[in-house]
Homo-oligomer: 93 residues x 4
């Protein structure tokens, strides 16, 4: 069982909204809308993706990482390393 299963519908809903925002960007380009307005909209999509990531990461820490640590053994180290690498990719992107 993956950690985010119970909020699966909420995650899917957020991703569908983001997909709708990306289609909105396509319409803006097709209609030759002003660059600055398009850039504002891209910033909104980026923020929505960030919130999605931060939610998923928080849930991952609360479940996978905490469970591995509670179980003891080397698995916790692996989970923390994976999480740290994912955080570094988020911070640097």
């Amino acid at each position: 069982m993956v950690s985010y299963s119970e909020d699966k519908d909420a995650y899917l809903k957020r991703l569908r909204r983001i997909e709708g925002q990306v289609r909105g960007l396509q319409r803006m380009v097709e209609q030759d809308q002003y660059c600055i307005d398009i850039l504002t909209q891209v910033s909104a999509v980026t923020k929505a993706l960030q919130s999605f990531s931060l939610g998923l990461l928080d849930e991952h820490l609360s479940t996978c990482v905490v469970e591995a640590a509670a179980a003891g053994g080397k698995e916790a180290d692996v989970k923390v390393r994976e999480a740290s690498e994912a955080i570094a990719r988020l911070v640097r992107s």
Copy 2:
């Protein structure tokens, strides 16, 4: 005429690819794929959106801002202020 018209097809193509990546994220969630793999994919989408923005902004500076400056008058100040605000939103998102 807006500044990005000549590259309109290229911009639309990039946005369609980003839309496909967001649909890919939905499939990953539906299939209960591993959180960390989903996070890696979100970082890729964020980077693609950033490249799109940076391309659009570069074109905006080379055309709108440079043309307003070449024409003289107050319009250049307005264009620079708008561009600076858009850059601040990109940097902070």
Copy 3:
């Protein structure tokens, strides 16, 4: 003459405050303060550096780039390319 000369004192003041914040971080580490509090303080320093960059970039666009564009010729292209590359570094860092 460089573009930021008139605000030189204001820029130096901001950088001295940032230097003080970095020394504050050293004291926090020396005193074994809590990681999370140190991370909060690092985020504040990063934001202060971002504001410094955005101010400098805005001034660069309003002066160097606008002047090169007003003068006509190839110099405006060079200035825009340089500015776009600096913006990309800021967005990606």
Copy 4:
């Protein structure tokens, strides 16, 4: 005992180098160096601060968070929430 104690010297060394970079920025401004070169240097300082944060956060997850989870009880939830909030501040700054 705080979690980063054993690497304290390494953390202090990194912060002193960052302090030196910030003083280098002051010299660049005093000497009226070119804006774009100053911006390049600010990006380098921002990246150094990010690496410092990511190192500290990784250590915090491996020690404080893992220990709280291994001990069981509510403390793990508190530690994860704190870490998630710190990550959000890093991602958004």
